[in-house]
Symmetry: C2
Subunit: 646 residues, 2 copies
């Protein structure tokens, strides 16, 4: 199976999954095709909505004499008339709903293989939310057993092994870990439909995160039975790649219309609040006049237009680096979904999420309310400030929030202050304390906050403020009222540029990185147009460039050498196999399959040192994956090589 990451944001990702019948871009939605009664044909779905993959039920086909015969003879693709990828389900859900599934768990896998399913599913044991831990444990033991027995039968089919464990997070993680050990290809999260039916989104979040924690990150994850777009953004942000929808048809059947913000009954509407082709061609009274079968068809089409569009919005948000913004925005549609976001405020979840969170993003960070301050990128910045920032002087002047960048906004004041005395200058911003020399770094400069923030954010800021300034002498500056201290050492004039590059490198590369980078003669070249720092030379060697977009450094090989010398293994390293060395030397990308080890602290879009197994510096580059991903993935780029060490 070929599955690779193309782009990413939050713990979400855009991937390519290759199947026998073509490549699918994730996150994506698989409409459920009822083999007994095809409402909209997969071909038409492809045409209308850009559907790339569908799912159908092998158990229903198996139970139906004619369908079974035809499927075995002509294959599943002919049966439903679709030449794209087809996933099949096994009857687990039917056994949960009707409690009458009479088929052998291995026979159904063989059957799926024999009818040519691209992705076939094991017959797992559905874990309901109300079962006891003991019951759930029994269920996952049986599921794991069946999965192991199914693997040898999968043939060329990709095998989907469903993770169960009810609402017990440790069981979810355990089941995911066990199923990751076997030769499976695809991981549905099962047993979640009752949670979604009852809007228990908080429990859903727990199930997703605990499953993902145990899972091989290089495998596609499918939130089984999730067909309402309301939860797509959050589920994707937590790392789900696939959804399947029978909702489009079921809801249509009940006269219910799906919207990104929830569901409306056709009977309650005077107008259609949507611009899809169905809703622009028809008005409410025209729909109501239709005969039932036609109405169902039209509503089903609308439901699919809306669902597929939500996925486009999500993929667009990933590309822009705005997935958290979309998640938070959607949460304001539904109080239960809003409540579910509280899970993400827990420290253990922030730690987990931070590993996936890119170091910077294409678009500015937007404040949407009291969840913004808990985003992993903010958590990371606070952590790094506490750990890596050096207070240079004995006194710190704390300035209130202002326009960005702060060094421009406060330029006159800073000049005035520093003429008299050398002090640290730090802005008490809506994102936390921002040392003035870090004011161009993402997201400090690249963030949009309202003038006033909510109480919860204030409280978080107060906490980090106290922690950050613990033991420091600070003056909360009020223009016209505050006075500079009269004591304290008056140092030589401060080199502001050196101050800036030192602070940025310490935050970006690690504590004291500046001590090795800038311990010789330094020349700083600035942009003539913007006056901003561009390139840094050390004893004539170009060691760093500062990116205008996020105020962070691009590492040159001469800078990489210094950091390689200074930081002990494995810090900043990506280690490649011997086979890959010649390719790296040709400046080819580092493919994940060649990575043998990696700094566990490296995160997506971090600068990295590419080394061989003896820790010889081969090149400098930029990560696309985190450690766990680099080790797990067999396909795709782990890091892009920028410059080689000749």
């Amino acid at each position: 199976m070929k599955f690779e990451i193309i782009d990413r944001d939050a713990a979400g990702r855009i991937c390519k999954l290759q199947t026998k019948h073509g490549t699918v871009t994730t996150p994506n939605l698989m409409p459920v095709i009822n083999p007994n009664k095809i409402l909209i044909s997969p071909k038409e779905m492809k045409n209308l909505f850009g559907t790339e993959i569908v799912i159908t039920n092998s158990y229903i086909i198996h139970k139906h004499k004619e369908l079974k015969k035809k499927a075995l003879k002509e294959g599943i693709h002919k049966l439903i008339d679709f030449n794209g990828p087809v996933m099949t389900d096994s009857g687990t859900f039917q056994s949960y709903v009707y409690n009458d599934v009479e088929i052998d768990s291995i026979d159904i896998v063989k059957f799926q293989r024999d009818i040519g399913s691209d992705i076939g599913t094991i017959l797992d044991v559905f874990g309901t939310p109300d079962q006891t831990k003991n019951e759930s444990e029994k269920g996952i033991t049986e599921t794991i057993k069946r999965a192991k027995m199914s693997v040898p039968e999968k043939g060329e089919m990709l095998l989907a092994c469903t993770i169960q464990g009810s609402i017990y997070q440790d069981l979810r993680t355990k089941c995911a870990k066990e199923l990751s050990k076997i030769n499976a290809d695809f991981y549905p999260l099962g047993g979640v439909v009752p949670l979604m039916e009852n809007q228990r989104y908080s429990d859903l979040v727990k199930c997703i995160i605990s499953s993902k924690r145990g899972l091989d990150p290089s495998k596609p994850v499918h939130l089984f039975g999730a067909g309402h777009p309301l939860i797509f953004p959050l589920a994707v942000a937590l790392g789900c790649d696939f959804f399947d929808s029978s909702a489009y048809a079921k809801y249509a059947n009940d006269g219910r219309i799906i919207f990104p913000w929830g569901t409306e009954k056709l009977d309650d509407l005077n107008e259609l609040p949507c611009c899809c082709p169905i809703c622009t061609k028809n008005n409410v009274s025209e729909l109501k006049k239709m005969k039932k079968s036609e109405l169902i068809l039209q509503l089903a089409k609308h439901n699919l237009y809306v669902s597929f569009t939500e996925l486009k919005k999500i993929r667009t948000a990933i590309v822009e680096g705005h997935l958290w913004e979309l998640v938070e925005r959607r949460a304001s549609s539904n109080p239960y979904l809003l409540y579910a976001l509280k899970e993400l405020k827990k420290n253990k979840n922030k730690i987990w999420l931070e590993k996936f969170e890119p170091i910077s993003k294409k678009k500015a960070l937007f404040y949407t309310g009291n969840h913004t301050i808990h985003r992993p990128i903010v958590y990371r910045m606070h952590k790094r400030l506490l750990k890596n920032y050096n207070f240079l002087f004995d006194t710190t002047i704390v300035l209130p929030e202002g326009n960005k960048p702060y060094s421009t906004y406060y330029a006159n004041l800073i000049k005035k202050i520093r003429k008299k005395r050398n002090v640290n200058i730090i802005v008490h911003s809506h994102l936390g304390p921002v040392p003035i020399e870090l004011d161009e770094m993402y997201p400090f400069a690249q963030s949009v906050f309202p003038q006033a923030i909510d109480k919860e954010t204030s409280n978080v800021l107060k906490k980090i403020f106290n922690e950050f300034f613990k033991g420091e002498k600070i003056i909360l500056w009020k223009e016209g009222k505050s006075h500079l201290p009269t004591t304290g050492i008056r140092k030589n004039r401060l080199d502001l540029d050196l101050n800036r590059i030192s602070a940025v490198s310490d935050i970006q590369f690690g504590k004291d990185a500046s001590k090795t980078l800038f311990n010789a003669s330094i020349r700083i070249v600035k942009s003539k147009k913007t006056g901003k720092i561009r390139n840094i030379y050390r004893e004539g060697n170009h060691i760093l460039s500062m990116r205008a977009s996020d105020g962070m450094f691009t590492l040159k090989i001469e800078g990489a050498k210094l950091l390689h010398n200074f930081f002990k293994y494995p810090k900043l390293r990506v280690v490649v196999k011997e086979d890959a060395v010649p390719f790296i030397k040709e400046r080819k990308s580092v493919f994940a399959k060649f990575v043998t080890d990696c700094d566990p602290a490296l995160i997506p879009l971090d600068e990295c040192l590419i080394v061989d197994k003896k820790d010889t510096l081969l090149a400098v580059g930029r990560c696309l994956l985190n450690k766990n991903e680099m080790i797990s993935f067999n396909y795709g780029v782990a890091a892009k090589t920028r410059e080689i060490n000749n």
Copy 2:
């Protein structure tokens, strides 16, 4: 001019405006038609987007020799080939942008009249946000002068008199008041484009509210130059009826795509996150391959699809009673818009907004974040609780938030407590204190909150809690830990039903209403199915029915007589002209034009006593308008008559 309210929510409204060329439903959008270069014809707009009215610029037509000649000869409708309503602008904006408008302010009004414009605009003086108060005052003086001089020239044309006053709220109100005195028909709010361009939405809110405060409520209000759907929901919630968009074309020209949440550049997109017919027919690369003129046309169409759909969403939200939910949801897309909502938390604005806020709504109140608690309907409930609620007993047991309705959720506990001692039982809910006997009243039962709420909401709740319980002896009940007081009077067994109907009538009709309604033998009839109170008889007369949907009373004529006797004029009254009396006696609706006076405390959907000028009770009914509206409107229903006094 015929303009009437059909439905409403927040301070927003769905109205019908009748013009010579047909009726328009508001809120609505007028696409700007450039007479020099028609990108999409009004006819096609009607076809594609359901466009009902367009706006074009009479100044541009007047300046252009050929266009002027044709317009005067054939009329504006022929010129732009549209037989629906056409509004014309006067050149004010051109004078602001290019500062070179050379036309007499009365001539341009005559010209608009002569070319047959349905709604023509005076040549007002554009007030920029940066002008001094003095400059602004001069500007509005001149605007008012011109408006007065324009009125006699309007002929059959509806005259739009633009309200200016820069960012000075008192000037906005003054200008609105002065312009409301003259015989004008339509009120644009001018000078707001620079505010929107700079995302100064907070100032925009101030401008809208201060203008609306001074305006005749029976006239359509147009937010001049507002064409981005991002601000439509908030502007409608504050009482704007019309928008106009040149944005659709301008943005398209720059390769920018309008979405409800903001604007995206086509160049930044990999996919089109939209399901409109343009975005489902084309993908990004197809669009990029188009020649420029074709691309502009396609983007402009998309922009209009999205803009008109947002209006459908808004009108749907009004019908459902979910306009505040939509406003708050949209605000999470943009930090400046979010900040603007802070204006609505000010007491003076809550007081103003409450006058428009219906007494109950079709759908449950949804929590979206820290703005929800500041909604006018919550503010009203707190106010009424403080003013009208009677503590029956000396001790109050305060129960924590639970499932709704609370009397069911806490049934056993309440029974246990009340067996021992008569106490008040009040739930400390996410909406404020809810006396158990009010637990079925909107929005106490009909609200969806997450299990935990934000800090700001908690603080608001704390404040109202302290105010409500001031001087009361309370026990914060903790199950298993709290004990009943051993002192205090043990009364006779409490009649829970009587308790409920008393409390509801005091909150709904006014302090002590229960004392007159229930001071005789009372029989309560309950639904056999739900066990809920349905009908109330007093000495055999049916005086009240309780609505299952919102837990409030429908007033019968026998109940109305009691309240009419008990409450002094004008409380609960709607006074009609003598001419209307015969119609009321036939149970016809009370039309606004027949209303001469009214209780200023009546709000939309309140029960009301319909009386003649001598305060004789004619009938009982339900208001659709508030006092100010009843007095101002010449068209539409002010109250629906339910039962007459024979």
